[in-house]
């Protein structure tokens, strides 16, 4: 025991305990980090390890009143490659280029590109995607996705609108009811390594997407498709620029059809239709941004986005104002010399030799301008303007489509007698087609100002609960009596007057024709229109057709009235059939 003393042993033990104490201290530190700070660091670590991918929710479908699906979702695939997982680049490029009908070199370049994930092609048909998936190539990923699909392609295109790349509504009902249709996207949370590669074995936590709600419209695709055919026919026959046709229930504002030809293909909304291409040679190139003027024009729904001078159809409003304030009686006698002098202006009747002696009813049947000017002047600027407002013409109709145009009307203080005279027969101001049909509906339905609408109800995708939309109705904008008189007069217009071409044996149809000039008047172009309802004594349906810039005969009574006649000949039996059922 050379030199080895007791104190050495004591010191060895001392040293041991000092070291032990240090380790104990560190154990304390470990307990602190691993128990008390565990939650904090776990959360931090999870944020570091997790990658979030969203799962698109299926967009709600749009159905017509019969339950026919008119906007649906198609499952499409996105094909991508994960560079680090590819085993045989040539084989992958070969298969992909063959199945996707792409250039081999292009695909190979993408396959060989060093990136964590390279997209080869999106919006690939599901069948093609399935085929690629079955090849079981390592490093190739096939992701399913939803794409909006419109089975009727161009039918009701101006009403439905379309969606963008993220399934968000861009136009029409798709954007108006985007909130209902959109649904809630789900998420996939996956764990990844430091390079961002997903770890297969850890599994993934999913938050399932919630599909959007189905939207059911008041639109009837049978009527819509027939109305579209008629509009196309007359547009082609008359070489017209465009034709709008609205079919509505005058009692509640439910729109059964809204046509504005030429329409466009909803499945390819960024490809210019022939009709537009002709006038605008440039072709749309990109989906995002830079939509040219031509595309905007193509997407416009003239029924609501554009205003026009209504012309003689507006005489219904003047008649209603005159009758309501008792400025005129139905059997009151007038004389039309072919013109009328208001202040220093000589305003011509469309029949230059004059209608001669006529009462208010026959004047309406003849659509005689001087008589209506006379009635307008009797009502007076103040009262006329008041009725204009009371009938709802100064406000927008409130239709559930975006971009409704407002009425362009003289300011009251700027209105002189000449202005009043021209307004009386539907000139010198502008309204939208939907405004005209809504106002006339309200005048003939007993005085209830209805809100035109397309959406009927939504069906919740989860609960199946149905929520009906409510639309405001303003009562008593005109008396029952006046309303009844109007219906009587307008029935006469069709059965004996200028709207004869809309007459159908066995039905009582009321209506009014119009022929107005497009602005500027020097262009010599016309707008022929006709508004008709049925049955005349208790209207259940009302339709308005507007033919813009027809060539040859341009009178509303000659070319527009027959369109409504054909429409009613077909849809009235059909609607009766629905009622019997």
């Amino acid at each position: 025991m050379k030199g080895f003393q007791i104190y050495h042993k004591k010191k060895i033990v001392f040293a041991f305990f000092v070291l032990l104490l240090m380790l104990l201290g560190l154990t304390g530190r470990l307990v602190y980090v691993m128990v008390f700070q565990s939650e904090y660091y776990s959360q931090k670590a999870l944020e570091l390890h997790e990658r979030e991918r969203s799962i698109k929710a299926a967009r709600g479908r749009i159905l017509d009143k019969n339950g026919t699906v008119i906007a649906d979702n198609k499952v499409v695939c996105t094909i991508s490659v994960i560079h680090s997982q590819i085993e045989n680049p040539e084989e992958v490029a070969g298969v992909l280029s063959k199945e996707l009908e792409m250039d081999y070199e292009t695909v190979l370049k993408k396959v060989q590109k060093y990136s964590s994930m390279e997209r080869i092609k999106s919006n690939v048909d599901k069948s093609v995607g399935d085929k690629i998936r079955q090849c079981n190539l390592s490093g190739v990923k096939v992701d399913e996705d939803y794409k909006r699909f419109y089975p009727y392609s161009s039918l009701a295109s101006k009403v439905l609108g379309f969606t963008g790349g993220d399934n968000q509504g861009i136009l029409g009902l798709e954007v108006k009811y985007d909130e209902q249709l959109q649904g809630t996207n789900g998420t996939i949370l996956t764990l990844t390594d430091a390079k961002g590669l997903e770890l297969d074995y850890t599994g993934e936590s999913r938050i399932e997407p919630i599909a959007g709600n189905d939207l059911t419209l008041t639109l009837d695709m049978n009527i819509q498709s027939y109305a579209t055919q008629l509009a196309m026919q007359v547009m082609e026959a008359k070489e017209a620029e465009s034709v709008s046709l609205i079919v509505m229930n005058p009692n509640n504002g439910a729109i059964l059809a809204m046509v504005d030809v030429p329409e466009y293909d909803l499945n390819h909304p960024f490809e210019l239709e022939y009709a537009y291409k002709e006038k605008t040679p440039e072709v749309l190139q990109s989906v995002s941004g830079n939509t040219t003027e031509a595309a905007n024009k193509m997407w416009r729904n003239a029924c609501i986005n554009d205003t026009y001078e209504p012309g003689s159809t507006f005489k219904v409003i003047t008649a209603a104002a005159g009758l309501e304030c008792k400025a005129v009686r139905l059997d009151e006698q007038f004389h039309c010399p072919g013109f009328c002098i208001v202040e220093d202006r000589k305003i011509r009747c469309h029949k230059t030799q004059g209608h001669g002696s006529e009462n208010f009813l026959t004047a309406t049947m003849n659509s005689c301008n001087p008589v209506f000017i006379n009635v307008g002047l009797r009502v007076g600027i103040d009262r006329y303007y008041e009725y204009f407002k009371q009938f709802g013409l100064l406000n927008k109709t409130g239709i559930d489509l975006p971009g409704e145009a407002g009425t362009i009307m003289h300011k009251k203080e700027d209105m002189g007698l000449v202005e009043l005279a021209t307004v009386s027969f539907g000139q010198s101001f502008q309204i939208t087609p939907i405004q005209l049909i809504t106002t006339i509906s309200s005048l003939i339905n007993g005085g209830h100002r209805v809100t035109p609408h397309l959406a009927d109800y939504v069906t919740d995708s989860v609960t199946g609960n149905v929520t009906k939309f409510n639309y405001s109705v303003q009562d008593d904008i005109v008396s029952d009596e006046t309303s009844e008189t109007l219906r009587f007069m307008l029935e006469k217009v069709v059965s004996e007057g200028g709207g004869k071409k809309a007459y159908i044996e066995g039905y009582s149809i009321g209506g009014k024709t119009a022929t107005s000039q497009t602005l500027p008047r020097s262009s010599g172009q016309y707008i022929a229109s006709f508004i008709g309802f049925e049955p005349a004594n208790d209207p259940q349906i009302i339709a308005l057709v507007i033919i813009r810039k027809p060539q040859g005969v341009y009178y509303g009574g000659q070319i527009a009235a027959p369109v409504i006649k054909k429409l009613y000949e077909n849809i009235l039996p059909y609607l009766e059939g629905i009622q019997y059922n």
Partner: protein, 385 residues
């Protein structure tokens, strides 16, 4: 105790099986953890999930051989090499500067012998210092040791070695370990307590002063910045604080029971080279607080056995050798865990027997062999276990 009962027979030899089994257990556990921490990255980078495991296994086999030899050779025979060992150590340190030196991860600490066989001189220096101090101290009288001058003479050579390691091989942590070993050995040999307690308090005071300065003074100094980031690693999450923060994420997310063996997320590239110095954080992540405590307990067992062997050593030289080894293990474990848990600023220190590293493993096993040889020479009859 069972060993005492066998006292009746003559020529019986004591052998510390407890220590041997603790070491075997640590090595086996280390191999498992090296595979667990390195396989994912090794597959990605080298295309071979067992790359690190195989290399460590080979080193373990070689280490077993070395340990067997040192267990067999009488430790007294090493004493005459004490000064030579010092000389060789200095040469080796300077060899790092020659073309034989190898740079790894930006630090030139390695010497290539042949092919891929390379080692860190620091590992040899540690053994050499243990041998040197034990030899020097046994030649000093108790009185001489108790003087400040005597202590200074003993500590001077290890201090130079520590300085060389730090400055020449840019390896501060090995320098600290070498210095620490020498201080513990001197402390044990010296009968005095007072000056060590004063020295300890002085070190604590200086440390506190530096930390205070770093936090309260606007200094742009690099080291001051390091201390500030040590106190709050989230200040520089992508720079200096990166590794520490990643280790804390691993430890913290392990919780009490851990994610299970192989379940670590941080080893998937978030904590680079997880099989090296930071391996303890992955142990915490996978095996939880209980796993971490079990590992600490194994090391406590190891140094406890060292203490017992030292106390029963046949002479002071043997006792000091064992104390040196005990100090080496204990300091390295304490510093490693302190770094990993951000209890002290980040400096590269590996966890004995568990971190990846062939030469380190072999020299550590040689040291254990030394301790086992001392244990073999314990005379049982007048010993208290």
């Amino acid at each position: 105790m069972p060993i005492r009962k066998k006292n009746k027979t003559k020529n019986q030899s004591f052998f510390d099986y407890t220590l041997l089994f603790v070491v075997i257990f640590l090595i086996a556990f280390g191999l498992i953890m090296i595979y667990s921490t390195s396989s994912y990255e090794a597959t990605g980078q080298l295309g071979d999930s067992t790359y690190y495991l195989r290399h460590q296994f080979v080193a373990t086999i070689a280490g077993t051989f070395v340990m067997f030899i040192t267990t067999m050779i009488d430790y007294h025979r090493w004493e005459k090499y004490a000064f030579i060992g010092m000389g060789v150590s200095i040469i080796l340190i300077f060899l790092v500067l020659t073309p034989m030196g190898v740079e790894v991860n930006g630090a030139r600490r390695w010497i290539r012998v042949v092919g891929s066989l390379q080692f860190q001189p620091a590992e040899i220096v540690k053994i050499a210092v243990i041998l040197f101090c034990a030899s020097m101290i046994t030649h000093f009288s108790k009185k001489k040791l108790a003087t400040l001058k005597g202590a200074a003479i003993i500590i001077a050579v290890p201090a130079i070695m520590a300085l060389l390691l730090w400055q020449i091989t840019d390896n501060l942590s090995s320098g600290i370990i070498v210095g620490g070993i020498a201080v513990v050995m001197l402390f044990v040999a010296d009968s005095d307590y007072k000056k060590y307690i004063i020295a300890f308090l002085l070190v604590v005071a200086i440390g506190a002063g530096v930390v205070y300065a770093a936090t309260h003074m606007q200094s742009d100094s690099f080291r001051m910045g390091r201390i500030a980031i040590w106190l709050d690693p989230e200040k520089d999450p992508d720079g200096i604080g990166f590794q520490t923060l990643q280790a804390l994420y691993a430890i913290g997310s392990g919780g009490i029971f851990g994610k299970g063996l192989g379940g670590s997320m941080q080893k998937l590239g978030f904590l680079p080279e997880a099989q090296n110095d930071m391996i303890f954080s992955i142990i915490c992540e996978e095996l939880g607080l209980f796993g971490a405590l079990a590992v600490i307990l194994l090391f406590v067992l190891l140094i406890w056995r060292c203490m017992v062997i030292a106390n029963n050593s046949p002479d002071l030289f043997g006792a000091l050798l064992v104390v040196g080894v005990m100090a080496h293990f204990a300091i390295q474990v304490v510093l490693n865990i302190a770094v990993v848990t951000n209890t002290m600023p980040n400096t590269g220190i590996s966890l004995p027997f568990i971190s990846y590293g062939g030469t380190s493993e072999m020299f550590l096993m040689a040291e254990i062999g030394l301790v086992l040889n001392v244990s073999r020479q314990i005379r049982l009859k007048d010993n208290v276990m």
